[in-house]
């Protein structure tokens, strides 16, 4: 019994210590970002490898999520004779929730895991130590461009995911199930508010998710045990922690933005 309580306490202390290390790590990375202004190539290279190379999975997933939303929405709305509202349902669901959240989850699996593995392997092969000994701060030269590049890429990917999702919903609703195209677009236009929905949902939420996803991915890589097993564990931990953090943060942000608290 005592052992169980002690184990629980140890686990809580370890978790808090990791959180503290993660925060300190992020505070060491942040000052490196202004230094990237004269060297934009470092950031654009990361936007390419983290963002552009994630496009296929984002495009395909966005299309299918939108198509499923169109199909499910139609079968529910048609019972109430409200299938004309399909455009508004698809758009609000994507803009407020699914766009930023699913994009961030997909990003964590595709790009976040590769970030963790890359940084972990750089640590295991002493490349980070090599930078230190060359008087180059790895937090500024390696971590900061990746975090900043990822922070820029995630909102852009969320916008693309949402747009493709709306097109998928349109294709199923209007193209296959016969919803009126004018109603689809006009309902969407009248119900989606730029500030309330688009800025809050796609922009602010996905920006917050981008910060969290990239900071966790890079931290897990830098904090890993520098062995093949350590890198593998860090990669798994990075994806799991990022996913949980995104879902938890989503609830908090949704409550703040749309809840009546």
């Amino acid at each position: 019994m005592i052992d169980a309580i002690a184990g629980l306490g140890r686990g809580a202390i370890d978790t808090l210590a990791r959180l503290g290390r993660g925060l300190l790590f992020f505070l060491r990375v942040l000052p490196g970002m202004p230094g990237l202004l004269p060297r934009p190539g470092l950031v654009t290279a990361q936007i390419y490898s983290l963002g552009v190379l994630s496009l296929p999975i984002i495009l395909v997933s966005g299309l299918f999520v939108g198509m499923v939303l169109g199909l499910q929405g139609y079968t529910t709305l048609v019972d109430f004779g409200a299938e004309e509202s399909l455009g508004s349902l698809v758009a609000l669901t994507l803009v407020r929730e699914l766009g930023p959240v699913v994009t961030a989850l997909l990003y964590a699996g595709r790009a976040g895991s590769s970030l963790t593995a890359e940084i972990g392997l750089m640590k295991a092969t002493e490349q980070l130590g090599g930078l230190e000994m060359m008087a180059v701060n790895p937090h500024h030269r390696v971590m900061a461009p990746r975090v900043l590049g990822g922070m820029i890429a995630v909102p852009l990917l969320a916008c693309i995911f949402t747009a493709v999702g709306v097109l998928g919903g349109y294709f199923v609703g209007v193209g296959l199930l016969g919803v009126d195209a004018g109603s689809f677009w006009s309902q969407m236009q009248s119900s989606v508010d730029l500030r309330e929905d688009v800025i809050n949902g796609v922009v602010i939420k996905s920006l917050a998710f981008g910060v969290v996803a990239n900071a966790i991915a890079v931290f897990e890589g830098a904090d890993c045990v520098p062995t093949s097993e350590g890198v593998s564990r860090a990669t798994t931990r990075g994806v799991v922690n990022t996913s949980l953090a995104i879902l938890g943060l989503d609830f908090i942000l949704t409550a703040l933005m749309f809840g009546d608290f």
């Binding site: 092969t125 002493e126 490349q127 230190e132 000994m133 060359m134 008087a135 180059v136 701060n137």
Partner: protein, 276 residues
Amino acid sequence: MPLNSQSLADEPLVHIRGLRFERGDRAIFDGLDLDIPRQGVTVILGPSGTGKTTLLKLIGGQLRPQAGTIRVDGQEVTKLRTGALYELRKRMGMLFQSGALFTHLSVFENVAYPLREHTRLPESVLRVVVLMKLQAVGLRGAWNLMPSELSGGMARRVALARAIALDPMMILYDEPFTGQDPISMGVLVRLIRRLNDALGLTSIVVTHDVHEASTIADRMVLISDGKVVEGGSPQAIHESRSPWVRQFMDGLDDGPVPFHYPAPDYAEDLLRGSAP
């Protein structure tokens, strides 16, 4: 107290006193004293796991000791702030055991990396400097290869070219001969000596390859059990009667470094009956 230029020149380049460094509950160094004189090759020998690489990291300021002082060129490394430490590191080169080349950059870009970071050389001048460094290690013709296309020995030579890119005062070599075939080893041994003499460097070579170390060392230091157990010229080390030195130099399986890892009594352990 800051040292004036004359007393600085008289002081050893690396001056370590009362060094204590622990990992977990285990003391890697416990009261280690060591001087590395300027301009020469000092070889640090010791059994595996004795903390040779850790010592290099302490000298380079990558690790902080629990106690003791480490002065490098008159500066107390343990007390330097990040900016000052980075300034000092610009005058140090380090050759890692793995080479630590950046795998996404070509040989040329790897050697150019510290120059691009710390200088504003025009591209034409930078190209000349990089080719000169690569020529010094015999790999000018490999400038466009990627690290994955290099053999282990070539990777270390590229790493050596990168380590001397900023014309440092000192180079730290971490196990440079490990895993090398006899030709690559011979090349590295001669390169270390030749570069040291041609560039007027101070070289600190950490290794357990006794024979190769003896051929290039001006001074050899044997560390074991967290302390310096012997130091002197290669000849003095070879002739030493110290049991530590004899066990290491003659490759004896038992001695001051025991063959058996500390364990409970053998008979008791066998008779206990259940798995530990």
